[in-house]
């Protein structure tokens, strides 16, 4: 019984520690693609450390929502480490929380971030919140559709069970998963605020989506939100791995599979980082009114995946 709890703790630590390195890797590869010298893979850690050492500047009219949100967002994001099979499928939490709970956790974090964006009453916060909610209302159903397609294959909404079936069951080529993967990539770009939906590196107040909501944060609050943002991207990456590339993840009760699973994880994340950079380098940010079309096509792919499951499998 002690072994699954160790796995849970290990997964949480990996999420906390590796998320900044994953972002650092993406930024590093991006620098290389653009012909620049990169600040190294560890720059995000230095950024977070810097923010923690700074004072918080709080608007006079900030309510408890504004102060509470960074902790809530951070907490909700850390919780997700307990239910996604990052290293092993042997997760006791996955019995209590399935993939719908995961989407709900994202929704809670987003809901409070949007509230906090409006809390101060600046024009940018409200603008960011409104844009974020517009995108979320389209992205969330599409995401559920994509994940349900995988659920159909494994006959379960528990992530552990889904991974178990795909990774350790018989290998079958499934067109439904290909469609779901395509939808999932589009949704990941939108949900994590990457190009072509949002620009994580912009300083232009008027074009921001996610950054506009958190424009008023500083010090440790900003550090927590930034860190949670990095973890969110990491979670989407490992979720994608769990759903579509789960091979190598340790099966139930196999302790010796953990180091191998860890190596597989690093290789897969490195690969995902490069793919993400390729997308981000080759595309300009789209006009904001194109985002609904973009997420509409994500929803369409997910639906096609589900249909092809019934027709072909």
């Amino acid at each position: 019984m002690i072994y699954p709890i160790v796995i849970e703790i290990l997964q949480t630590l990996i999420l906390l520690a590796a998320a900044p390195a994953f972002i650092g890797w993406i930024r590093m590869v991006k620098c290389w693609f653009q012909g620049r010298t990169s600040p190294g893979i560890f720059q995000p850690y230095r950024d977070i450390a810097k923010l923690f050492s700074k004072d918080v500047v709080l608007a006079e009219n900030a309510s408890w929502i504004f102060r509470f949100t960074p902790y809530l967002v951070f907490g909700a994001t850390v919780l997700m480490a307990g239910i996604i099979p990052i290293l092993s499928v042997d997760l006791p939490f996955s019995a209590t929380a399935d993939v719908i709970a995961l989407v709900a956790l994202f929704a809670i974090a987003r809901f409070f971030t949007a509230l906090a964006g409006m809390d101060i009453g600046t024009a940018f916060g409200g603008m960011g919140s409104s844009r974020e909610m517009t995108i979320a209302s389209l992205a969330e159903p599409a995401m559920l559709m994509a994940i349900f397609t995988v659920s159909l294959v494994s006959q379960s909404t528990s992530l552990s069970q889904m991974v178990q079936v795909v990774a350790h069951g018989q290998f079958i080529l499934r067109p439904s998963l290909a469609f779901a993967l395509l939808a999932f990539i589009l949704i990941t770009l939108a949900e994590t605020g990457r190009v072509p939906v949002d620009n994580p590196a912009t300083h232009l107040e008027l074009t921001m989506i996610h950054e506009a909501m958190i424009l008023e944060y500083s010090g440790r609050h900003l550090a927590l939100i930034e860190w949670a943002g990095m973890m969110k991207l990491f979670i989407f990456a490992v979720l994608g791995i769990a759903l579509f590339l789960p091979w190598g993840v340790a099966a139930t009760g196999v302790l010796t599979g953990i180091p191998a699973a860890f190596l597989f994880l690093i290789v897969k994340l490195g690969f995902i980082g490069i793919v993400l950079v390729l997308i981000e380098t080759g595309l300009a940010k789209m006009r904001i009114f194109r985002v609904p079309e973009f997420l509409g096509s994500a929803f369409l792919f997910a639906t096609l995946g589900m249909l092809s499951y019934f027709m072909l499998e």
Partner: protein
């Protein structure tokens, strides 16, 4: 080309006085009675001219010059009010007087939109009142300065601090359900100059954009009046740092028209060389920045590399990355060796290759194209009505380029081929600049291949008292205009500067109509006007 001149003569008949003595040799200046000021604007408009600039001078301390047919209403009586018009290659200045006790003049705003800000600025800084102007708010001068503090008047002591008063600047309001206001700036999230933008929006659609500038008002025009003519060239080079060559050149050329000093041929060619290098460097940087505003950072860094290499060559050749203070009265301050000449030619070969490679990437990326096409359209009609200049004008079908229309050597021999586009969107402004880079590279090559030998500067003679000089130079943003006047003791009495930004800023307000809020930074960057050059 004397179309405008003939019109003025035919309208005014005997009251038109061409004061060849005082006014610039290179541009006809007519002095007219105050009540006919707006009438001339009307005929100028009909003739298809554009308003280049409008400004006022304080001539209350000048010796009294009675004008016989007017019963003695000449200089020394009050404020001079000037309007400069242009059509094709012809420039024309109309001057009138307004007395100190009743400093009013008829507003031109109903005929020419740019007068809207010129006249507010004249009222704020000189205290001359445009009658018939719809907007009483100050411009450039901030609302927390006393209303009767007129810094450009001679009686104003610029060495003392200004007392602060409570003032309010009322923005245009939009009302209705779902209308909200977005104040942006003057402090921005990035490292850019300060300016305030007030949006009225419904959802993401912009109903109206109002600019408020003046945050970098530093009294440059007033400062000129305390400087020697030589130091003036240095200050002109600092009006807008990215346009240092064009500004210093326009200043020097204006002063040179007052002294009939002609710099040696080699100096003129070197000036053109610097002007074109400045144009290339700024265009490269801006094209990259436009791409970065739609998150296409790859091109930003690639174009930045090209720009940086040019600037480093400038440092090596001219001892300054931006070539500041290299244009002096009577010529240039630095010569280039035959080695340097070959160095630049090699650099141009390299630049052409690299640049064309990036242009292909820009041109063939559909996601980029989707953003830059049809965004921020400035229609040719609006552009004409707003009297815009520079690449903004050329992207909207207005073939205005002083290098072509008012050439000075070597542009009389090496004639630039000016690219003019019709669509007026962000892409058109980018493409005009891409074509200009190509053209500037060609001009630089031709300059270097036939650079005349000789001196690089002539001895500068001080201008005589009580005359004026005028010059226009095509900087990278567009037409830079300088009008200078010497005082009774031969000092600088007034230096009027018109950066292209002063007219082009209004065009941004118009081009943004029908766009959405998140597209504003892109549109703004495609104009990239100077705050410093506008606020003076």
């Amino acid at each position: 080309m004397t179309i405008l001149q003939n019109i003025v003569i035919s309208i005014l008949e005997e009251v038109a006085i061409q004061d060849a003595n005082q006014y610039p040799a290179n541009v006809p200046t007519y002095q007219i009675p105050r009540e006919r000021f707006a009438e001339i604007a009307k005929v100028m408009k009909t003739a298809g001219a554009r308003l280049v600039a409008e400004w006022a001078t304080d001539e209350t301390l000048h010796p009294h010059h009675p004008l016989p047919h007017q019963g003695g209403g000449g200089r020394g009586m009050g404020f001079g009010i000037y309007a400069c018009y242009a059509k094709d290659s012809e420039y024309l200045i109309i001057k009138t007087y307004t007395p100190l006790e009743d400093p009013t003049f008829p507003s031109l705003v109903k005929k020419f939109v740019p007068a809207y800000r010129f006249e507010r600025q004249m009222k704020s800084l000189m205290g001359v009142v445009p009658v018939g102007h719809p907007d009483p708010r100050p411009w450039i001068k901030h609302e927390d300065w006393p209303e009767d503090a007129y810094p450009l008047r001679k009686s104003f002591d610029a060495s003392k601090p200004i007392p602060r008063v409570a003032g309010e600047y009322r923005f245009i309001k939009a009302e209705g359900e779902g209308v909200y206001e977005i104040p942006v700036g003057p402090v921005h999230a990035g490292i850019i100059e300060p300016g305030h933008f007030r949006f009225q929006a419904v959802g993401e659609d912009i109903i109206n954009l109002e600019e408020k500038l003046g945050y970098v008002h530093k009294g440059i025009e007033k400062r000129f009046e305390t400087l020697s003519w030589e130091d003036g060239a240095k200050l002109a080079g600092r009006v807008s740092g990215d346009t240092t060559v064009a500004h210093a050149l326009a200043y020097c050329r204006a002063v040179e028209t007052m002294t009939e000093c002609t710099p040696p041929e080699r100096a003129l060619w070197l000036r053109a060389l610097m002007l074109e290098r400045e144009r290339i460097a700024n265009h490269l940087g801006d094209i990259g920045a436009i791409c970065n505003d739609v998150a296409f950072a790859f091109l930003l860094y690639q174009f930045s590399i090209l720009k940086e290499k040019l600037l480093r060559t400038n440092l090596k050749l001219f001892a300054h990355r931006l070539m500041m203070d290299k244009i002096i009265l009577g010529g240039v301050a630095v010569d280039i060796s035959p080695d340097a000449k070959n160095g630049i030619l090699t650099e141009m070969d390299w630049l052409v290759n690299e640049f064309e490679r990036l242009v292909i990437i820009y041109d063939e990326n559909p996601s980029l194209e989707d953003r830059v096409r049809d965004a921020g359209i400035l229609s040719p009609d609006t552009a004409k009505g707003l009297c815009v200049v520079g690449f903004v004008a050329r992207a909207s079908w207005q073939p205005i380029d002083c290098r072509l229309q008012n050439p000075f050597p070597p542009y009389d021999i090496i004639v630039p081929r000016v690219a003019v586009l019709k669509s007026g969107d962000v892409h058109a402004r980018v493409w005009v600049r891409i074509e200009e880079i190509r053209e500037s590279i060609r001009i630089i090559r031709e300059i270097l291949n036939s650079l005349p030998e000789g001196e690089i500067a002539c001895k500068f003679i001080l201008p005589s008292p009580d005359i004026a000089g005028f010059a226009v130079v095509e900087g990278w943003r567009g037409e830079v205009v300088y009008w200078l006047q010497s005082g009774p003791r031969g000092e600088i009495n007034r230096c009027m500067i018109r950066d292209p930004s002063s007219v082009n800023w209004i065009a941004l307000e118009q081009a943004i109509h029908g766009n959405i809020v998140p597209d504003f930074p892109l549109c703004n960057k495609s104009f990239n006007q100077s705050y410093s050059g506008n606020d003076l």
